[in-house]
Symmetry: C2
């Protein structure tokens, strides 16, 4: 008998995990292909944790970007793109101004559509400049990464992962047209899973369910419209037919920034989906002296934190004056993140700041309310710190996020374009003074925070898992190997129907045959009798 | 403005969790309605942990049972049932003997069916004696429990939870007829989720998919056959119409003893499902001197652990002699859990023991193979400790478990009724000497153990969660409030179809009307012309 080496796997694996937790294990090598904007901000925290655990983190990013800047936590490899920082900043500024510009529905639709088209072209071109940068790609090929960590909303990372044949971990909130459901084989019944942009809850009336189903139709075109150019790019670059859906199906693990406290208990989570909603709400750091002084000076009334997110820090003057009026009507000190021209009617209780430590301020016991655009990071920070919200959604999933907070009685939603100064003042006073809002957000917060492991640790665990095991094929549902007909067992049902019908047909024919033989016999035996009688 | 009390929820909740982890927090009160047999064994470990965390645990069990015995970890409340311990033991012994008796398929089927019918009646009667025990029920009503922790395979616990209006946590491997899927609104496509008793993997051929679908049909009757008496009992006792399905839908959290390493990545996990497969594989304890001596004396060849589980410890003599012969053909020392008459041909290398510390022995580096009946606890302990297996399934989910291990190249399955001594010898030698088996089970083990939190801690967390928050309504999918037609959007589709058809009909009618008017006009303008010409 061949001797089997003595081993003790349970202890061994525990040891590896322990070592890796202490950051002593030989680190892995992870390539990060990020998406700029707020998407980058929470991803960065995972990179810091990965670095702390002893892994080598390499980030590839265009030379010109909004937020992706070098850090001690990672090696940054940049590639040139045909835009300057000024052009990007201007483009971005125009985007937020467009969003806040008033007008008829059609005007706004055309404006947003044109902007969307322009941005898509920019994102595609950026991806092309990464893939066809020979020097950088050679470096990536030679680097022997253990995993690619990427946000697939812009499917450039998945193309790189496929080219390098490295397993990938996705980090996202969702893909607006629902391609994430298709790519994970995750059922998504329109009867109780609200579609994006519908602002529905999970409990819908008949007409809402009709709207929900109808909203699925444009998704079919939207997915194609946005991802088709990337499919073309992938096929050209990889030199084989490859759609974005094909690429996304290959992900090892999907880290989804969802939590059922905010996002309705949607149906199912597939084996390779991990929910990490609330990842950006980490232990708060002490406030700087400047902010500490403002908060302490606020007295018994406390403060209100006001930020329209990382994307919008400047709004048209008319709107700014209205908002300033509203903010003047509450006794709280308002900390407003705002970089535009100071409105002339700015009340004494409002402090304008270029940047604010949002999570740390929300965590302060003196914070009474949070005025937010409803981005998922901000909303989760509001929930985590149990601060009632006034939501002024602007674009993307923000309308839906706002509706979700409102439907749970933890905040009020305003239409920033249509609201008056009085509307805002009333909303702010209500969420601060009506105890119901504080109670509801406190309950949500308790549910959200009562979890066996922090989402950040969970995210890091799964990136390390994929690095350690070269993917996670044991989490891949066999549904990926079935076509639509097979998945729904239509071929099996057709076969069984055919068998039943054939059996019936044969039984019928047999009966007929027997009857005929009987009749014929009778006929034959009767006939001679008849002929005899004649 | 009403002053809002200063609070710091993130720290507060963290503190509660921390205190609860240290067992210092004010404990909750949990009522346990267990199911006897192997189901009880892994549940008991959760109770030990709950007790350690400072909770009060009350177990209700019949006076006569196989394994449910008093312990320091819980208060035990018993109720009389009309069976003696001798009757129960005899009944149980007969059950295992029936299972191991040879015979034609029909004979075996009739035998098992009769046994099943008898056992069902016994379980129902036991439940009736709990529910109608006035003194015990009054005690339960007065005890003000925070949660009911129960195995719903015998739906007595869910009836008690409903009667007491206390949220419940379920602890189970699954319900054979698939009622767990229905009760959780969990999709369960027969195209890639293998049905119990089919022995399929998740990758099925066309004919296997046909068989898988066909196997769903008897499930409809089986569920009804087994659970109908409990539905009747529930309706009578609760004095309102109530089916077992209605009861199961109310569970707050389902703790499922599944892990995708063994159980194929089946489709979806609903928000209130938590996977805790491998819960019984905890840190091994040092072996007693007796076992340590046997293991050390085994030399370089090491040992083989052999147990047919908690339910079977005695087998017919003819089979025992065949097995003894097979065990004598390997150089390993075999530790066999066996309480029957000693076979006369027992080889020197086989040590018979009445009980063995299975997990601790499997964890020993000298263990080369594990001969098991394929019960889920044993299989997970084999995986956890990376020991290749020879599986001899007897009943229940054991055939499927065995097939799952075999399909992953980590063990070999034998039919205990049909196998010869040589078959068993060959299988045992193969899993020990063919390195492939050890490599495969080692890989499975590494994947299984690489998890962010131990399943036991996860189970305890969710029981505590339900106690702390009085249930988990935020995890309840809205699908529960839809009927079958609504869930599948059939009413919406019918409505949209009607709208489309009506629009087409109206358009058609309008066209016809216009055409007719045109024709009529033409006709009228032509007619007078005609009459004029006449």
């Amino acid at each position: 008998m061949a001797p089997v080496p003595a081993s003790h796997p349970q202890v061994a694996v525990t040891l590896v995990l322990l070592l890796s937790m202490l950051g002593l294990a030989a680190g892995g090598k992870v390539l990060v292909v990020p998406v700029d904007g707020s998407h980058w901000l929470s991803m960065r925290e995972v990179l810091d944790s990965l670095k702390e655990k002893g892994h080598e983190v390499v980030v590839v990013a265009p030379e010109v970007s909004l937020y992706i800047k070098p850090s001690k936590s990672f090696v940054m490899k940049t590639y040139p793109i045909p835009f300057t920082q000024e052009e990007l900043d201007r483009d971005f500024h125009e985007f937020t101004q467009d969003t806040l510009k008033e007008g008829s529905f059609l005007e706004r639709f055309v404006r947003i559509y044109q902007r969307f088209e322009k941005n898509s072209a920019l994102l595609l071109s950026t991806c092309e400049h990464l893939l066809y940068n020979k020097e950088l790609m050679r470096y990536l090929e030679e680097s022997k990464f253990d995993a690619v960590f990427t946000d697939p909303v812009i499917p450039c990372g998945p193309i790189v992962a496929e080219h390098l044949s490295v397993p990938s971990v996705y980090f996202l909130r969702g893909i607006p047209c629902g391609l994430d459901f298709e790519a994970t084989q995750c059922p998504n019944p329109p009867s109780y899973v609200p579609r994006i942009f519908t602002e529905h809850t999970d409990h819908m009336s008949f007409l809402q369910r009709v709207k929900n189903l109808v909203f699925d139709v444009p998704n079919l075109f939207l997915c194609n419209f946005f991802f088709q150019p990337f499919s073309k790019l992938a096929s050209e670059f990889l030199q084989r037919d490859m759609t974005v859906l094909d690429l996304l199906r290959k992900a090892s693990v999907w880290l989804l920034r969802l939590d059922f406290v905010l996002d309705y208990p949607r149906p199912p989570v597939m084996p390779n989906m991990v929910l990490i909603g609330g990842i950006s709400c980490t232990q708060e750091k002490p406030l700087s002296k400047e902010f500490e002084a403002i908060v302490n000076a606020s007295g018994e009334h406390g403060i209100v934190v006001f930020s329209l997110g990382s994307m919008v820090s400047d709004i048209p003057m008319k709107k700014a004056r209205e908002i300033a009026d509203a903010l003047g009507s509450v006794p709280q000190t308002v900390l407003w993140r705002y970089t535009g021209k100071v409105p002339s009617n700015l009340p004494q209780n409002v402090k304008l700041v270029k940047w604010l430590p949002q999570n740390d301020l929300l965590a302060h016991p003196k914070t009474r309310a949070f005025i937010t655009h409803g981005g998922s990071h901000g909303v989760y920070e509001g929930i985590c710190n149990a601060v009632p919200m006034v939501l002024m959604p602007l674009f993307g999933d923000q309308m839906d996020n706002a509706k979700r907070v409102e439907s749970r009685g933890a905040g009020l939603t305003l239409n920033i374009l249509e609201m008056t100064s009085e509307d805002m003042s009333n909303a702010l006073k209500t969420v601060i003074n009506d105890k119901k809002y504080k109670e509801n957000i406190k309950r949500l917060s308790e549910l959200h925070l009562d979890r066996p492991i922090h989402p950040l640790d969970l995210a890091v665990h799964w990136v390390e898992f994929v690095m350690r095991h070269k993917g996670a094929p044991h989490l891949r549902p066999a549904a990926h190997d079935l076509n639509w007909i097979q998945y729904h067992s239509l071929d099996v049902i057709a076969f069984l129907l055919a068998v039943v019908l054939l059996s019936l047909f044969i039984s019928f024919k047999c009966c007929m045959f027997c009857c005929r033989r009987c009749c014929f016999k009778k006929g034959r035996t009767r006939k001679p009798a008849k002929s005899k009688s004649h």
